[in-house]
């Protein structure tokens, strides 16, 4: 550091430089740590002179005017409720129905505030003292950084608001769908309760009926069913197949009617026992006199389950 630079630093401390001299000093300070320190030290010393200025009371309403001006600007530094708090509160209100998103939003805001504070501290630590030019530069840098953080935060908040709105719409749609499905399920349950079908497949132990098939679908609630027979041998003249329902509560099987198969030995027919059957334990098919009998007499060819 030479005498010329010392001179520039001294003049700068009193804000006497302009134009090329100011730029020359600023440039030299960037690369010369010693000059930078002297510049800062002299500026601190110079401003100490303000302690010796004779005080003059400002107008009585000055404090009120300053307060009003700070308030009127709004923004993050306004008196009263800070902008961050307002935004935070809005975030909470928006996310009232979606607590997780709201907490995330709040955490993001806290993180951003911490990041900004850390950035300010880091800058302060990195630059032990500042010249006016450095201070202006630092102020601009901090303002830019703050603006960038605020913009970033507002973008994130806008994105979150959109997402929250989208989630709300989807939630409403899902609720509607759930209501529909619940109604359908209730209806099906009701139908299922009303039907309560039992299906029984029977096979015969009688040699002639070894290839035959008998299926009974029994509706317990309606106490009626459907009988399907296939590959049944033709019965001899004067005889008929007769279906029986065995109820454990009754001493004898209850007749469910005469069954007539076609030429191919096939039949599908609805049946209903002649007496009410509370609990159909078994079904049986026997060969009876033509037209059927009230009480089983002939041989049983199918029984089950």
């Amino acid at each position: 550091m030479d005498e010329r630079q010392e001179e520039l630093a001294a003049l700068n401390a009193l804000h006497m430089l302009e134009g090329d001299e100011q730029r020359s000093l600023d440039g030299a300070c960037v690369s010369d740590k010693e000059l930078r320190a002297l510049n800062t030290e002299l500026e601190q010393v110079a401003v100490e002179l303000a302690r010796l200025v004779t005080p003059v009371e400002p107008p009585a309403d000055m404090k009120k005017r300053i307060r009003a001006k700070i308030r009127s600007r709004g923004g993050p530094g306004a008196f009263g409720v800070s902008r961050g708090v307002i935004v935070g509160a809005a975030g909470w209100a928006l996310a009232a129905g979606l607590a997780v998103a709201s907490v995330w939003l709040w955490n993001e805001r806290s993180k951003l505030i911490e990041q900004h504070a850390a950035a300010v501290r880091a800058i302060a630590a990195a630059v032990p003292a500042s010249s006016p030019a450095e201070e202006r530069k630092e102020a601009r840098s901090l303002e830019d950084e703050l603006k960038s953080i605020r913009d970033d935060y507002e973008k994130k908040q806008a994105a979150l608001n959109t997402e929250i709105e989208s989630l709300r719409i989807r939630e409403t749609e899902a609720q509607t769908r759930i209501t529909q499905l619940t109604a359908e399920a209730d209806s099906l349950k009701q139908q299922n309760a009303q039907t309560q079908m039992e299906i029984t497949i029977l096979q015969s132990t009688v040699w002639e009926y070894r290839r035959s098939e008998m299926i009974v679908v029994w509706d317990r609630l309606r106490r009626q069913g459907v009988l399907m027979l296939d590959k049944m041998p033709r019965v001899e003249a004067g005889k008929d197949y007769q279906l029986w329902v065995v109820d454990t509560q009754k001493p004898d099987p209850v007749s469910a009617g005469v069954v007539t198969v076609d030429d191919k030995g096939v039949v599908k027919t609805q049946f209903k026992p002649v007496e009410a059957v509370d609990k159909a334990a078994k079904f049986a098919l026997s060969v009876e006199k033509k037209g059927g009998v009230p009480k089983k007499e002939g041989p049983v060819v199918f029984i089950g389950p």
Binding site: L17, Q44, L49
Partner: protein
């Protein structure tokens, strides 16, 4: 709730944390002297009030970045106010000329007279130290520094206004400030 026990640095730090009461208390302490500084620099009561108002708004804005390890609250604030005043002078085109012919006589700090020191100054050790250090300077150096500090003029204008060679102005200011710096650090 009042905070009478807090020093200026603590009040400024609280203001940085958006404590309005602390900021207003700091205003009560600093405003008279800073207002006096602005009146000396601007020679216009209305301008001085406007700059005072703008500067306190800026002080509030910048308070979060104040670091007591780097500077005292008063000097930190005074730097902001002086910058604002010089910006205003530049805007008004006053930086390159003297406002009034009698400016020189009025541009004197209270370093020369014990009687000028008011009660508040008497209680301020730092102000007493600055006053004492300023008295130690040769008269030419002291007057030039005081004038430069209070007028916010460029050295070219100052040399022309005082009818002094530019080199003399620069040398006096350099030597004077370096000496002041030594004295305030305890040097002799």
């Amino acid at each position: 709730m009042s905070q009478p026990e807090l020093n200026d640095e603590e009040l400024l730090q609280r203001a940085g944390r958006r404590d309005v009461r602390a900021f207003e208390q700091l205003y009560d302490r600093l405003a008279p002297r800073l207002h006096g500084l602005l009146r000396q620099m601007l020679h216009d009561e209305r301008e001085a009030e406007e700059v005072l108002q703008d500067s306190f708004v800026q002080l509030w804005d910048r308070a979060p970045s104040f670091d007591p390890a780097r500077s005292q609250a008063f000097t930190w604030a005074a730097m902001i106010f002086r910058h604002k005043a010089i910006d205003r002078m530049r805007m008004l085109g006053r930086r390159n000329r003297l406002v009034e012919s009698a400016a020189l006589e009025h541009s004197v700090l209270d370093a020369g007279s014990d009687a000028a020191a008011d009660a508040e100054l008497e209680t301020s050790e730092r102000a007493a130290a600055v006053r004492e250090a300023l008295r130690e300077l040769p008269k030419d150096q002291r007057q030039l520094i005081e004038f430069a500090f209070l007028k916010g003029l460029t050295h070219h204008v100052l040399a022309e206004s005082l009818n002094l060679p530019l080199g003399t102005v620069k040398t006096h200011i350099r030597l004077g400030l370096l000496r002041l710096c030594d004295l305030l650090k305890g040097g002799r």
